[in-house]
């Protein structure tokens, strides 16, 4: 045991159950970081889109012009698809000469469906991060316990147990807990951060929907009068 301590040797010398757990955790870490980066990019983009769309929406243009512009786009953003869902429902019901209440109920239903769909998209993978954040420490701990059991079992044949005969095994085993924590901490932080951001976005969508409905209500009243 005179060789210098290295991460690689610690992992490579571990017994196979510990090794399986360590490799599993490392893969989980890779997947979790992929999700974190992907979610981070997607949520930042969603926030930017929301602000850009609100600027565009309140620029004083006619609602129909805005609608025509947006429906030409091949890949509408989240908030744009909410707007399109609400406005197309309004158009459709207006053409059928429905009364104001029926139009408003229809628009509300259409926008709610659109917002829910976008929320599902935003919350994609967040459940995975939450699960990983809460279970990775336990998986790591499990690996450590197995490693410690093994290292103590190897002491059975020795009459004098010294620190030097137990320490390498325990040091190997503890690597599993370290990796478990290493996986869990970023996952938990990311989950909390992204949940808060999804909340902000959902509030933004909801308030936009309320404003849209009040505008359409006024338009509908004006048309009737």
């Amino acid at each position: 045991m005179n060789e210098p301590l290295s991460v690689y040797s610690l992992i490579a010398n571990a017994s196979w159950p510990v090794l399986v757990i360590i490799i599993g955790l490392m893969l989980a870490s890779l997947v979790s970081w992929t999700m974190i980066v992907q979610r981070w990019l997607a949520l930042s983009k969603a926030l930017r889109d929301l602000q850009a769309f609100e600027d565009f929406f309140w620029s004083g243009r006619n609602l129909r012009d805005i609608y025509d512009d947006i429906s030409k786009e091949a890949d509408p953003t989240a908030i744009e698809s909410v707007f399109v869902a609400g406005f197309s429902e309004f158009e459709r019901l207006s053409e059928q000469n429905a009364d104001t209440d029926a139009i408003m109920t229809g628009v509300q239903r259409a926008t709610r469906v659109a917002v829910t769909r976008e929320e599902i998209n935003l919350e994609l993978h967040l459940g995975f991060l939450a699960t990983l954040g809460s279970t990775a420490p336990y998986i790591g701990l499990f690996g450590t316990v197995i490693g410690i059991i093994n290292s103590f079992r190897s002491l059975v044949n020795l009459s004098q147990a010294t620190l030097a005969s137990v320490a390498p095994g325990i040091s190997e085993a503890l690597i599993a807990t370290a990796i478990g924590l290493f996986v869990a901490i970023p996952a938990v932080i990311a989950f909390n951060r992204f949940s808060a951001r999804v909340e902000v976005l959902t509030k933004g969508y909801d308030s936009f929907v309320d404003e849209l409905i009040s505008i359409l209500f006024r338009a509908s009243q004006a048309r009737r009068a």
Partner: protein, 229 residues
């Protein structure tokens, strides 16, 4: 197919970023551990566990063993019973104590008689025999108490032997103990000294002449003969 492309486009950047992050982290961790690693001159010697229980003591008082009950094979050849257990040792001590009391009574009687015969006259052969018997009892008792208190270090080997010079007070308390011939292994020498210190106070004869001749100072040879390696 188109869906796959969408997924690849969505996750490719994220995956590459995650992979690069992990590789950097692993490399820097490795570098950190290497710089923080202890100096290579620190040599860790793995202790070799031993199963052994016996020492052989060679006291200076090498009294020819008279054919009495004391010189039963057990006491006179201590290195033969390697598997001697603690209870055996305790039984033996009880036995020895009984013998010792008997012998002391006998010695006192003899001394009284000799004193009455003539002060300063040479001791009779009978008396000398009794004295030798008695000192053998004490030697064995000292031997046993030291054996019981000796815990050998893992570094002990069969061919090691340390000679310890022990000096006692007439009360049986330890005056000094020192290694006069080292085994070459510090831990072994220390364990021998500790055994002597823990075994003290010793049982010594009340007879001052006997004490002065044999127990004021004597050497003990610590030698684990029965070790596995």
């Amino acid at each position: 197919m188109k869906k796959t492309i969408v997924y690849v486009r969505r996750y490719a950047i994220a995956f590459v970023v995650a992979l690069v992050f992990h590789l950097t982290l692993f490399a820097s961790l490795q570098a950190a551990i290497e710089t923080l690693a202890p100096e290579p001159d620190k040599i860790i010697i793995e202790p070799k566990p031993l199963k052994a229980r016996l020492i052989r003591l060679r006291p200076e008082v090498t009294v020819p063993v008279p054919p009495t009950a004391v010189s039963s094979p057990r006491t006179s050849r201590p290195d033969s019973d390697a598997e001697k257990t603690l209870t055996d040792l305790e039984d033996e001590q009880e036995h020895l104590e009984r013998l010792k009391r008997e012998r002391e009574a006998r010695l006192a009687e003899l001394r009284d008689r000799a004193f009455k015969d003539a002060v300063g006259e040479e001791l009779t052969a009978e008396t000398l025999d009794a004295i030798e018997d008695l000192s053998q009892v004490y030697v064995t008792s000292i031997y046993l108490s030291v054996v019981q208190n000796w815990s050998r270090p893992p570094s002990a080997r069969n061919d090691m032997s340390a000679i310890v010079l022990v000096e006692l007070f007439p009360s049986g308390d330890l005056n000094t103990a020192g290694v006069i011939e080292s085994s070459g292994d510090d831990a072994f020498d220390r364990s021998a000294l500790n055994a002597v210190k823990r075994a003290a106070p010793f049982e010594v004869p009340d007879d001052l002449a006997l004490f002065e001749s044999n127990f004021r100072s004597f050497t003990l040879n610590f030698n684990p003969q029965d070790l596995l390696r």
